[in-house]
């Protein structure tokens, strides 16, 4: 899927009040071609603050008083901060159920609690499950304002979901245990790392582990279309004893049981405080030979109890506060380029982010490529790696 630069030409200003009623269904800031086009470079900030999100939406959301969220761990891409900023800004409660659940659990919850007051209003799922939600008709299409500043690769063309953030696969090294930090997949094969390398779960279940295998595929001559080299790489790593069988949890990282972890860049900053308290130094490096990015999809759930609060939540994720929250958490927000252009991102904020040179021009695998990779993985991971 070719990467196209997001359109910087114009930002369509919505004629808010008149379209508010229809807008609640089509998206508060959705626009038609006949809307007035104004280029608003200089006064962008003040115009955005006034119109986006629409005052009607905010009021309706406040009237609802709550948005039911699900599977958003505090330490994942700084959701703790993003949830707090939403509560502070709008005063709407956003309880998170089952924070450690999987995308499949989110789907189960939406289906079993359909029509009930605790049905999830908005979800955050892996790309594969975004397709599942689509196939089952569970998305409520909604385009938040600032939709146009989101790159094509990070949103659904029909407006069903948006990828508010993405991250890169990175090697996290506990430098208290490991003195020489590996910087590439090739380096991980070194005998000095025997028993030290861990995947964050089984790739057939964990999105992060799946991404690690894809990244390894790229590093070993494969591509989005060919995940087999990645599987073979890990088979080799297991055979040489470098691949540890230990499970990765916050506790195992702190205890040093899993000193070299393959996980998303946005999963590391959340652990920083606890690591420091325990006297552990940690370093995050994106492998030089396999740069792989992955996103998660967020959207409003159809027929959920708090539609407006949910739409406001999606808006919040895309907005500046949300985006800056993600940056602190080590994730690259969807509107990163726009924010940088507007000068809102300072160098201190970027400490948790990977080198922008790596993320410029990032490509993501298409739904078909992911589906094919999963087939190969399901068939081959067991026989080649797990069962050995």
């Amino acid at each position: 899927m070719p990467m196209t630069q997001h359109k910087k030409v114009t930002k369509k200003v919505q004629i808010a009040l008149g379209l508010a009623a229809a807008g609640l269904f089509l998206g508060a800031c959705g626009s038609s071609d006949s809307a007035t086009e104004t280029s608003v470079e200089a006064t962008e900030t003040s115009v955005m603050a006034a119109d986006c999100p629409a005052a009607d939406l905010v009021d309706a959301a406040k009237a609802e008083g709550q948005v039911n969220l699900i599977t958003l761990p505090d330490t994942w891409a700084n959701y703790k901060g993003i949830l707090a900023s939403y509560r502070d800004k709008y005063g709407i409660a956003n309880p998170v159920a089952n924070p450690d659940g999987s995308s499949a659990d989110e789907l189960t919850a939406v289906e079993t609690l359909a029509g009930q007051p605790d049905m999830p209003d908005a979800v955050d799922v892996s790309p594969a499950f975004a397709q599942e939600f689509d196939a089952k008709g569970l998305w409520e299409p909604y385009e938040p304002c600032l939709w146009d500043e989101i790159p094509e690769t990070l949103k659904d063309p029909a407006g069903k979901w948006v990828a508010a953030y993405y991250g890169l696969m990175a090697i996290g090294a506990n430098t208290t245990v490991v003195t020489e930090v590996p910087t590439s997949f090739a380096a991980l094969k070194d005998p000095m790392y025997k028993g030290l390398v861990s995947l964050n779960g089984d790739p057939r279940e964990s999105g992060a582990a799946f991404a690690a295998v894809m990244a390894a595929a790229i590093a070993n001559g494969g591509s989005f279309d060919d995940i087999l080299p990645g599987i073979k790489y890990f088979a080799e790593l297991k055979k040489s004893g470098n691949l540890s069988a230990a499970d990765v949890t916050a506790a195992s990282v702190i205890s040093g049981e899993t000193p070299l972890v393959l996980d998303w860049t946005y999963n590391y900053p959340g652990m920083a405080t606890v690591l420091a308290e325990n006297g552990i130094t940690f370093q995050v490096t994106v492998p030089t030979d396999g740069v792989y990015g992955g996103y998660y999809a967020q959207g409003v759930v159809k027929n959920s109890p708090h539609q407006n609060a949910s739409k406001l939540w999606i808006n919040h994720l895309i907005s500046d506060e949300g985006a800056l929250g993600y940056i602190v958490g080590g994730a690259i927000p969807a509107r990163f380029d726009a924010l940088v252009a507007a000068g809102k991102v300072t160098p201190e904020m970027m400490t948790n982010l990977p080198d922008p040179a790596l993320t410029a021009g990032i490509k993501f695998p298409s739904a078909e490529q992911v589906a094919k990779a999963k087939e190969v993985l399901t068939a081959q991971w067991g026989p080649l790696v797990a069962d050995k």
Partner: protein, 269 residues
């Protein structure tokens, strides 16, 4: 008559060590903020703190989750006993032929994955009582089902190990009606089984995670899972605290309930 119980003491010592040592290692990890790699004589006494534990135990979330779990546990034990005690007594006394059938049913919950239970039951509930799954107490029947293998087995073993036939014949021949026989003769003799069943059910409920998380209920294991990412050390201390407190509580309850039955069972026939 004195028997040499040295082997018993030795065995219990070994098993006791097996039970306690891992918990001690986890406690060390949770209370001391020093990684093992840096642990040595000089650092042995450094950085011990109960801060994370205090944080975890005093948090409103913990208390909310704990309270729900305790209520669910009591209700599940109640419902379990209500359904199972009459059934098992009836089967053993009157209808042994059904025992295999009941046993098979009691083993089934092990191998039906929790997700299948949730999805299966929700599809049935949606057409009949859709709001059922919203209530946190909807977990009670699920819990009775998943505790079934343990609770049934305890009651079954309890009933099998008393000489039921003789007791019933004796009681009936002395003129007692069925109700009297059951309440005064059978039930006191299966007290150990009932107690085992209750304790196991209680513990199952306190530890069950999957069903509660799928139905988005905030129980104690859900709290522990939630707090794990932020504060793993604190969460483990809470876990340890729960283990110690539960074990003590159950031990005390065992002491209280055992008093009576002991007298009856030592009168051998």
């Amino acid at each position: 008559m004195k028997r040499n119980n040295a082997w018993a003491k030795f065995l219990l010592l070994v098993v006791g060590a097996f039970y306690t040592l891992p918990m001690l290692a986890m406690a060390r990890f949770s209370f001391q903020k020093v990684p093992v790699i840096k642990l040595g004589w000089s650092t042995l006494l450094k950085n011990w703190t109960i801060g994370p534990m205090i944080d975890a135990v005093t948090s409103a979330r913990f208390l909310e989750a704990g309270w729900l779990s305790v209520r669910l546990a009591f209700l599940s034990v109640l419902l379990s006993l209500l359904i199972l005690v009459p059934t098992t007594v009836y089967v053993h006394v009157r209808f042994m032929r059904a025992r295999a059938f009941v046993e098979l049913l009691s083993i089934l919950p092990f191998v039906v994955p929790p997700i299948a239970l949730v999805v299966g039951i929700s599809s049935a509930m949606r057409s009949t009582i859709p709001s059922f799954l919203s209530s946190p107490f909807s977990l009670v029947p699920f819990y009775v089902v998943i505790a079934l293998p343990f609770s049934f087995r305890s009651l079954d073993v309890g009933l099998s190990s008393i000489d039921l036939k003789t007791l019933v014949e004796a009681s009936r021949s002395l003129g007692a009606g069925w109700m009297r026989t059951v309440s005064s003769v059978i039930l006191p003799n299966i007290k150990t089984g009932v107690v085992s069943a209750s304790f196991l059910t209680f513990a199952v409920v306190l530890g069950e995670f999957t069903i509660a998380s799928l139905l988005l209920k905030f129980t104690l294991p859900a709290y522990l899972a939630e707090a794990q990412g932020n504060n793993p050390q604190g969460t483990f201390t809470v876990g340890l605290l729960l283990i110690v407190v539960s074990a003590l509580l159950l031990g005390v309850m065992n002491r209280i309930t055992r008093g009576k039955s002991q007298i009856v069972s030592t009168i051998g026939i």
